[in-house]
């Protein structure tokens, strides 16, 4: 198994006719992902390297039984595209687009939460990779191999760093999920950790968080109550000064909330081991896996 994307994934790409969208969608297809459709209003009937393009998600879903959407359109069109995918009955929506207005994300989140059958990952995320099965997004798949470590992260490059160190120690991944660094992510750590807990292939969960918000504290609470598998964590931005936005819109420490040490304390209090550097995270994970 694996979570979110796998051998059953049938991917429809919003923004397939764009330069970035086609580049990454074709990379995903070369990896083995079944890319079945593109959606670009006004370009229905065309194709991109053999992948048919439709005017609407509904047409694409009806013609191709697409079950997963990748959103690769510019920020001003992204919220609309996510809602269109949901309206067409797509169950898994992965939004790569960066720079979506916060109020748009808020609206999308509140619409989607009324539909428990739908899961949105992102926006502003690198996507989801189940090594050996499917890759949806921009994660450089070459660095990862199949295995039993589930990774969930707010940051792309940091995920690659940790994943690469695990791979060098001989361990692979069930699935790697980038939930993105925006203030209102479609999926939280809790959502993804719940999926990993239920996934028989995943034996250990690595979560890579960062300063800002309270998602890591919420994850700690959830882990204490619902998770039997070992969890190893990392928190980036421990030394960032308060009040400064560090690239990710979400990564801002304001007042007493969102600080790195508070997150580490919350996680360690429920038995989660927290590495102080990405290298340490991989070392702790390896130690646990080797028992």
């Amino acid at each position: 198994m694996s979570i979110l994307v796998g051998e059953d994934t049938r991917l429809a790409v919003s923004g397939l006719t764009g330069r970035e969208g086609s580049y990454h969608a074709m990379n995903n297809r070369r990896y083995g992902t079944s890319v079945v459709a593109g959606i670009t209003p006004g370009k229905g009937g065309q194709d991109v390297e053999g992948v048919p393009v439709f005017n609407t998600f509904r047409q694409a879903a009806a013609a191709t039984q697409a079950n997963t959407a990748m959103i690769f359109v510019p920020p001003r069109f992204a919220a609309d595209s996510i809602l269109e995918a949901e309206d067409a009955g797509i169950a898994t929506i992965i939004a790569i687009t960066e720079g979506i207005p916060a109020h748009d994300e808020l609206m999308v989140f509140n619409v989607l939460k009324r539909n428990p059958a739908v899961r949105l990952v992102g926006p502003n995320c690198p996507g989801v990779l189940s090594p050996g099965k499917a890759n949806v997004g921009i994660i450089p798949a070459a660095f990862f191999k199949p295995g039993n470590v589930g990774v969930v992260s707010r940051s792309g490059t940091l995920t690659y760093q940790i994943g690469n160190e695990l791979a060098q120690s001989g361990f692979g991944n069930s699935t790697i999920v980038g939930i993105g660094g925006d203030p209102v992510p479609g999926s939280s750590f809790v959502d993804i950790i719940a999926l990993f807990e239920a996934d028989p292939e995943t034996e250990l969960i690595v979560m890579s968080g960062e300063i800002g918000g309270s998602a890591e504290e919420e994850a700690a609470q959830y882990i204490a109550e619902h998770v039997s598998k070992p969890v190893v964590a990392y928190i980036a931005g421990l030394t960032a000064p308060p009040g400064k936005t560090m690239g990710h819109a979400g990564a801002i420490v304001s007042g007493s909330s969102g600080g790195g040490q508070a997150k580490i304390d919350a996680l360690e209090a429920v038995g989660v081991r927290v590495g102080r550097t990405p290298t340490q995270v991989a070392q702790i994970a390896v130690e646990i896996l080797r028992g």
Partner: protein, 390 residues
């Protein structure tokens, strides 16, 4: 719940310009950047008049940045004193002068983007004029709060509920409620992440007016509000931060002496931590983003070295979309162009890393030190910075 609002983004008077578009009641006022302009504003507005430093930081009053004047001489005296004042690192370039009318009550009202609850949070208190965190801590009953379903919006009953819960005077329940509705309208209409009025005042005529304004707008939504582009005054920002922004880089200046270049916000934050862990102090955060090409890298190096405190630079890149060989070319190019006097430590992993390491080895630059791991690179750059400082 997060009571703490994000940092002030618009200057008070610019926030007030936004509120004025929604007919939010305010007292007559004008901005001024010189003493003469302040005197002219006072002649027009009348007395008594409040002179307020315009800086993006709280605690202006305590720092002496807010004064009342009753004569033109006093205006001259206070304006001269406040202009150029340093309020916790923020230099005052602008003043706001406003009629000081009599006030019978000071309330607090705000709409905040509450990311934990994934909903706007509307707050009202009769204990205005002081820090809201203090109210929340000392008189939690005096702070009425309400999360709004953004799909439902803010309705009159929400306003009544807040007004009665906060215990506002009965005769102003309606105008205070109308004010809350307008602030919510501003919050949504302008893509704001914060609209805060502290204090919201009741005048002797029982009018409700916004005496102060903190408005934070969402940069990502600026395409919907071209008219708001002029509200952003990057003149007050750090010159290197302004230059980096113009060149499309995410750069934040910090207090240390080790320049940092990385790709991806999370990895760069982690790099800052690892450098601190190794005993060093980063001079900046710089995220070159995904797919950075040689030219963008040279630009980044230029920005990093523009900070005279920098004693050594650490390049920490994990290539995903970014190709390490492009980064290596950029470093070599920047090195040749800028001839830096400080050492570079370079750690490149990921896409095309082998080719990148070969490029660096072949270039054999005297001040460039390749390292294999992130922790090793951090230790090296800290040692080199110490040597360079000595």
């Amino acid at each position: 719940m997060n009571y703490r609002a994000p940092p002030m983004d618009l200057l008070e008077y610019k926030g007030k310009q936004v509120l004025a578009r929604y007919d939010v009641a305010q007292l007559p006022g004008r901005e001024a950047t010189t003493v003469d302009a302040a005197i002219a504003a006072a002649e027009e507005i009348g007395f008594p008049i409040v002179i307020k430093a315009q800086v993006k930081i709280g605690g202006r009053g305590k720092a002496g940045g807010i004064k009342i004047a009753n004569t033109l001489d006093e205006v001259r005296e206070h304006a001269t004193h406040i202009l150029g004042m340093d309020i916790r690192g923020h230099i005052v370039h602008e003043l706001w002068l406003q009629l000081a009318s009599a006030i019978v009550a000071e309330y607090y009202a705000a709409v905040v983007f509450d990311r934990s609850a994934k909903a706007p949070l509307v707050m009202l208190s009769t204990q205005g004029g002081m820090e809201i965190e203090q109210v929340a801590a000392e008189h939690p009953d005096a702070l009425a709060t309400l999360h709004v379903d953004p799909l439902v919006g803010f309705h009159p009953f929400h306003a009544r509920r807040l007004a009665y819960e906060a215990g506002v005077d009965a005769d102003v329940v309606r105008p205070v409620g109308d004010m809350l509705a307008t602030l919510y309208e501003v919050f949504v209409g302008e893509d704001a992440t914060l609209v805060e009025i502290n204090p919201l005042v009741i005048t002797p005529d029982r009018e409700v007016a916004a005496l102060d304004a903190k408005v934070t707008l969402d940069d990502n939504a600026m395409f919907r509000h071209p008219e708001n582009a002029t509200l952003d005054d990057s003149s007050a920002a750090d010159p290197q931060e302004a230059m980096a922004k113009k060149r499309g880089l995410t750069y934040v200046k910090l207090d240390g002496d080790i320049g940092i270049f990385g790709n991806g916000a999370g990895l760069v934050m982690s790099t800052l931590d690892v450098v601190a862990h190794a005993g060093g102090a980063p001079a900046n955060f710089l995220d070159a983003g995904g797919g950075a090409k040689a030219e963008a890298i040279a630009t980044s190096v230029d920005v990093i070295l523009g900070n005279p405190n920098v004693k050594a630079v650490l390049f920490n890149v994990f290539g995903g979309i970014t190709r390490c060989d492009e980064v290596a070319k950029g470093i070599i190019e920047a090195y040749g162009m800028l001839k830096p006097s400080v050492p570079f430590v370079v750690r490149l992993d990921g896409t095309n890393d082998v080719a990148a390491r070969k490029l660096l080895a072949d270039a054999n630059l005297p001040g460039v030190f390749p390292e294999a791991t992130m922790d090793g690179a951090a230790a090296r750059v800290v040692a080199l910075a110490r040597e360079h400082a000595a």
